[in-house]
Amino acid sequence: MSAPPVEIQGLTVRYGERPALTGVNWTAAPGLTAILGPNGAGKSTLLKAALGLIPAAEGQVRFFGLPLEQARPRLAYLPQRASVDWDFPASALDVVAMARLPRTRWFGRLPRAEREAARAALAAVGMADFADRQIGRLSGGQQQRVFLARALAQEADLFLMDEPLAAVDVVTEQTILAVLHGLVRAGKSVLMVHHDLSLVQAHFDQVLILAGRVVGAGPVAEAFTEPAIARAFGGLPGRTPTEAAA
């Protein structure tokens, strides 16, 4: 049995005095995992702390049994779309090619083979025709697909994605879900911060439900339950799995 994609032990993250995540213990199974929870539950924080983008007060995270620095080549990160300036003077291909930086020397031009790999990643999300378009001239869904292509171009074994399905069009949603299932079939794992509870049962293997701490975790059939969702979302009407799936 190989090491799990992610193993989190006693992870606590604070913003100043305010705790964002407290004592998270969680081991991911391979496959497609949805990280669920209300706003401010610490979903993005979990991804960022795991990747060392924000400091953790306590705890440790291992990927495939390795510490972060050694596991880095096997990880891909897809940040929230709103985290960058889309007016930036760069083409879609420029952005995707950024993923290939660790595979090349840092100085000089990007080798042709790397450029072609970036182009292939764009094609995989249906964006081949937009390679040379400035990213500000793409729709929100297309921008999200450019970010997905950049993550794909990292050729990782574990993908950490922060809300790639937030506010996207139907074509983009279908494309992204198809790509995710393709990754899982190829033996990859995906951790995805996610909002739309109606998609969970049909598309995900596991859930991790957060509300500042772990409220529920496990295979969808066992852990994606009404009481767990109610605990996380404070029993908001219309947000329970049965109603969402109906």
Partner: protein
């Protein structure tokens, strides 16, 4: 021709090198939405300049440049530290550090007696382009004559060195710099030491500010760091055009300021010459205004 070489050539070269270097590095400030940092760094270097001067007693470029880089390094680290420790937004931490460093520099100026040297306020504000002359020039042949070239103002050596370093830095680290400007979080997730890259970038900007400061003054350094890059930002969607175009526009503004300072008022029938530095600043501002107008018209179509 000899008159031009003797009186205007050194100033022209200095203005173009200063404008080009600041215009080149300014794009990284504007793209990272940190334009204030150029202002901050060009002020925060003062205590380092004074210490460099006080320790060596020389008004030579290199000790002052080293002192300035030391101060810029400290300022960058202090900004990062205050942001984290006090949980302030970048602008607030930057403002805090640069006023503090500048104040410290002023105190050091008094304490070390450097103030009595010849740091004159007009020179600090507007630079001394007009004083850059090349009296050894005796014609075009002087351009190839080592003895005559040695008579060029010493500021040119520093400006040329920093310009070359900035060009090499940008060309060599083209891709990491682009990633750093666009998406620092993603860069960090790839394992880039983002903090170290930021310090390196800030040191380059501080070096450019110090080298350009003597020639064109402190206000114009800030204008040259921000205006060409901001104008290009309004004119292009391509990264390479943004970065190298900023350098070209900065150098062009520097040249235009020096070359037009005399003839422009004369053409208008006026009986005085303009300050070259002042004209560069005015042209830089006008360029941004024109770029904005063009952009508006383009978007209205």
């Amino acid at each position: 021709m000899t008159d031009f070489l003797r009186l205007d050539f050194a100033a022209l070269l200095a203005a173009m090198l200063a404008g080009g270097t600041c215009g080149l590095l300014g794009s990284f400030l504007v793209l990272r939405r940190e334009s204030l940092l150029g202002d901050a760094l060009s002020h925060a270097v003062l205590p380092g300049i004074v210490v460099g001067f006080a320790l060596t007693g020389l008004r030579s470029a290199w000790p002052m440049l080293l002192g300035a880089l030391g101060a810029a390094l400290l300022a960058t680290v202090a900004i990062t530290w205050i942001r984290r420790a006090a949980r302030l937004e970048a602008g607030a931490a930057t403002g805090l550090v640069f006023t503090g460093f500048f104040a410290l520099g002023l105190v050091l100026l008094e304490v070390t007696g450097a103030r009595n040297a010849d740091l004159d306020i007009d020179c600090v504000l507007f630079g001394q382009l007009e004083t850059l002359v090349w009296l050894e020039a005796a014609g075009l042949a002087s351009l190839l004559d080592p003895a005559a070239l040695a008579g060029l103002p010493r500021q040119l050596g520093l400006l040329a060195g920093v310009a070359l370093a900035a060009c090499l830095f940008v060309a060599a680290f083209w891709r990491p710099l682009k990633l750093l400007c666009f998406d620092p979080d993603f860069a960090r997730s790839l394992g880039l030491r983002v903090g170290r890259w930021e310090i390196l970038l800030n040191l380059m900007i501080a070096a450019a500010a110090v080298a350009a400061f003597e020639a064109v003054g402190s206000i114009l350094v800030i204008a040259l760091l921000v205006c060409p890059a901001a104008a290009l930002r309004l004119m292009t969607d391509r990264y390479a055009v943004q970065v190298w175009g900023g350098a070209a526009l900065g150098a062009g503004l520097g040249a235009a300021g020096v070359l037009l300072a005399g003839p422009l008022p004369a053409a208008l029938g006026l009986d005085f010459a303009l300050s070259a530095a002042g004209l560069i600043g005015t042209l830089a501002g006008l360029t941004v205004a024109v770029a904005l107008q063009r952009r508006r018209r383009f978007q209205a179509l």
